[in-house]
């Protein structure tokens, strides 16, 4: 019985941590993975439909809400939605102004998008872990992991976007040659040590997006695992741990979104600076 329970628990956890994967299976061809094993076998050529769907949905929600606020905007006393949107925008604007020292009108909108989008995606975590998967299970969808930021593909994908912007900004501000020179001549300003510098700087450059993506992923994934573990408790005990953890996650959710946004701005600011 104990072994049986353990099996169920492991199955439950694995089930909850499995994305809905669509990809090219060596045997079944292009199909939805019906087990975790199949999803692994698909290798690189697979896509997590739930991650994509929920992240796009959250992005759309962000755009819809802010567009609505923008359309209703008046120059008089702002109503509820406009007021809230203005508050968020003010917050992001202050953050950008204090962190970003270059000149680029794209940074503040980028920061706003990152912050709200990640905040919305993270917030999906506060929905009890069984609700949505159960609902989709009824509709015949086997796997459904609704929090995109607990999928390393989503967080590293965003980090990759930031990384490309860093490369682009560096090349645009300093020129390709200038950027190369910066990589080759810091921290030791001599051509003799250029190879050493290059290795150091390229590692440093690559670490930025990886740490950016993994930080968000790690925090969210760990939180999710704890939520799932809490869900394995007897039903009358769930709330005792679940409620404090959820309340704590209000902080984590916004903090991680804030950290991702701030670090993106800091990296981009560094890319805009001449050394």
């Amino acid at each position: 019985m104990a072994a049986d329970n353990e099996m169920t628990a492991i199955y439950y956890i694995q089930h909850h941590l499995q994305n809905l994967t669509f990809g090219k299976h060596p045997e079944n061809g292009w199909s939805l993975a019906s087990t975790s094993q199949e999803a692994v076998e698909m290798g690189f050529w697979a896509i997590h439909l739930d991650t994509m769907g929920w992240s796009i949905a959250m992005g759309a929600l962000f755009i819809w809400v802010f567009r609505k606020a923008g359309r209703m905007a008046t120059t008089g006393v702002p109503g509820g939605l406009q007021n809230a949107a203005e508050m968020v925008i003010e917050f992001i604007e202050n953050l950008t102004r204090s962190t970003f020292h270059g000149k680029n009108p794209m940074i503040a909108p980028l920061a706003l998008t990152l912050f709200i989008w990640i905040l919305l995606m993270n917030s999906l975590k506060l929905i009890p872990v069984d609700y949505v998967p159960e609902m989709f299970g009824r509709l015949g969808v086997e796997y459904m992991k609704i929090v995109p930021t607990t999928d390393v593909n989503a967080t590293l994908g965003m980090a990759l976007g930031v990384f490309l912007l860093i490369i682009y900004s560096s090349c645009r501000v300093k020129g390709v040659a200038g950027f190369g020179k910066e990589l080759a001549l810091t921290p030791f300003n001599t051509w003799l040590l250029a190879p050493f510098n290059l290795i150091l700087e390229i590692v440093g450059l690559l670490v930025k997006p990886i740490s950016l993506g993994l930080r968000l992923f790690g925090s969210m994934f760990a939180g999710e695992v704890i939520f799932i573990l809490i869900a394995l408790l007897p039903f009358w005990a769930i709330w005792m741990l679940d409620v404090p953890w959820a309340i704590f996650h209000i902080l984590i959710v916004s903090l991680q979104a804030f950290i991702f946004t701030t670090l993106s701005i800091v990296y981009l600011s560094a890319a805009h600076e001449h050394h």
Partner: protein, 156 residues
């Protein structure tokens, strides 16, 4: 995948969590939003009040200007009127003075004429007497005829 009590447990937890949010998370947020709204409203109010004040002040200034202009024109008009009046008075005075002068001159002339007439009268009597004396070549009783001749002169 089967529904079990876990779902109920999660629902209980979720309900408590939502209650917590409504009770402790939402109020400060909503208060911050309200404060911001109030601040903006106050700012806009102050601005509109200031602009209204400005309008009022402008209006007042305009009115004062208009009043003073009116006053100035009134004063000017009064002065004008007064000057015409003065001229009129002076003219009147001059005319009356002239008339008076003319009258007094005339009176003087009349007086002179009367005086000359009296003188003439006096002399006429003497002349007549002398003439008559010459004509009659005789002495006439002066006393007897003086009275008669004076009467004659008075009739002149």
């Amino acid at each position: 995948m089967n529904i079990n009590m876990t779902l109920i447990g999660q629902t209980i937890a979720f309900a408590i969590f939502v209650w917590f949010c409504i009770k402790y998370v939402w109020p400060p947020l909503s208060q911050a939003l309200h404060e911001r709204q109030k601040r903006i409203a106050d700012g806009l109010d102050a601005a509109s009040r200031a602009s209204r004040d400005l309008e009022l002040a402008q209006e007042q200034a305009e009115q004062t200007l208009r009043e003073s202009k009116e006053q100035a024109s009134e004063i000017l008009e009064q002065a004008h009127k007064r000057s015409t009046q003065m001229i009129e008075e002076a003219r009147e005075q001059a005319r009356s003075e002239g008339e008076r002068l003319v009258a007094s001159a005339r009176a003087e002339i009349d007086q002179e004429v009367n005086r000359v007439k009296d003188e003439l009268r006096a002399q006429v009597a003497t002349l007549a007497l002398v003439g008559a004396e010459r004509v009659l070549e005789s002495s006439i009783d002066e006393k007897a005829h003086r009275e008669m001749l004076d009467k004659l002169a008075a009739e002149l």
